[in-house]
Subunit: 129 residues, 2 copies
């Protein structure tokens, strides 16, 4: 598991992860992985993160069904950030955000404010039962 | 400066930032900003990060000339990650990485190893004099 040792894990044993939709190039979300999460992501071909709030592995889509199929795993020049190229499954178009939006990055800076500019594709209360 | 107060700064007063090339959708790099860096980024329309290693503001391109023109600033659903849409200036195609590559994410996981799959576009020793 040399490739896992090559990653510079932070003081909490985590690495930041960017998930990008392969087909569109859209940046969908940002999360964290520990060593086990990255190992499982590679082994399963689906995104497994580490939830800092719940302090455990988070199999993306385990509740929502919005699984991320992983096509490509990249590591940055400093070996301390991971980039995933994914297909966002379970809804068309894909829903990566817990708010029911395509991407978590739906707040745009304009006129000195953050403005929500992307639509909710599915009501969260129908995603999480 | 309500929009700056809306950001959930971490214990070090920082927020993670993803820079994405507007024209191609390529994820170029990952860095950090403090409050002043984000304020200057918005005011100047160019990326200003906070260098954790040098503990000071980092005007991207200040040494290399590889400035990032900022078109769009996004905030995620938890208000704790920023996404920039940029044009990577100073070289064609753009060079965001200190290794002289287009993107920092040039190491690909394949066959249980990290393999460098993207070319060096300009030798670093000719970028940083």
């Amino acid at each position: 598991m040399d490739w896992l040792n090559a990653v510079k894990w932070d003081a909490q044993g985590l690495v930041p992860v960017i998930a990008q939709e392969q087909a569109t190039g859209d940046v969908l979300m940002f999360a964290w992985m520990n060593r086990e999460a990255l190992q499982k992501t590679a082994a399963l071909g689906r995104a497994v993160y580490f939830s800092r709030s719940r302090n455990k592995l988070w199999f993306k889509g385990e509740e929502s069904g919005h699984v991320q199929q992983v096509h490509d795993i990249r590591l940055d020049c400093d070996n301390d950030v991971v980039l995933l190229k994914v297909s966002q499954l379970g809804h068309e178009p894909g829903i990566a955000c817990h708010t029911g939006r395509h991407s978590c990055f739906y707040q745009r800076h304009q006129g000195g404010q953050w403005v929500s500019v992307d639509p909710v594709l599915k009501a969260p209360e129908t995603i999480y039962k």
